[in-house]
């Protein structure tokens, strides 16, 4: 099997899985876990966009 993802989809999928684990392991209550997981995911996706714009600026 040879799965070829784009850079963006690979980074977002990475963020999904890492956020689930971070949320569950770093907080105690269910509500906090969901909130922290969503926060981590938002940071991952935000970081992807930020890195994308930085690379665009460097390429100019």
């Amino acid at each position: 099997m040879n799965l070829q993802l784009s850079h963006f989809s690979a980074a977002v999928l990475f963020g999904v899985f890492a956020s689930v684990v971070f949320g569950i392991t770093q907080r105690s209550t269910s509500r906090e876990q969901i909130r922290y997981g969503l926060y981590c995911f938002a940071m991952f996706v935000g970081g992807v966009f930020m890195a994308g714009w930085v690379m665009w600026l460097l390429r100019r």
Partner: protein, 137 residues
């Protein structure tokens, strides 16, 4: 002026129970199982799903699985990350998968997926230990 050493909280020693040894061990071997044996069903299944899918996606993306005798320091660090996946790593090595013939631009993501799946499983096993000793509900 308060002496910092006197105001510091003393943490009582945690009792060493069978579960505090079994849960992280089985959690390392089978991702999420450390939570499942303690009846944290949803958490265990979510952890298992995330780590196993991440590892398998890494293999599907032609990611490289590091060997213990890589020689290079970065290879050794890669091995430490990979071995965190426990049973997944053992099965992958037994089936001789993860040769890592990088044939396209995003194949390196596969290697990173496999390493991070192992590292996340270390965190998961540590969390199972904290639940077993009562530090976490």
């Amino acid at each position: 002026m308060a002496n910092p050493s006197t105001t510091k909280e003393t943490v009582p020693p945690q009792p060493l129970t069978a579960m505090s040894v079994v849960a992280p061990a089985i959690g390392w071997l089978i991702p999420g199982a450390g939570h499942l044996v303690q009846k944290r069903w949803i958490r265990g299944l979510l952890l298992m799903g995330s780590i196993v899918i991440m590892f398998l996606l890494g293999l599907a993306m032609q990611g490289r699985v590091y060997r213990p005798n890589g020689g290079d320091i970065l290879d050794i660090l890669g091995f430490v990350g990979d071995v965190g996946a426990g049973g997944l790593y053992i099965v992958t090595r037994a089936l001789d998968l993860g040769q890592g013939a990088i044939a396209h631009a995003t194949a390196d993501y596969g290697t990173k997926y496999i390493i991070v799946a192992g590292l996340l499983n270390f965190i998961s096993a540590a969390d199972a230990y904290h639940i077993a000793v009562g530090k976490k509900p």
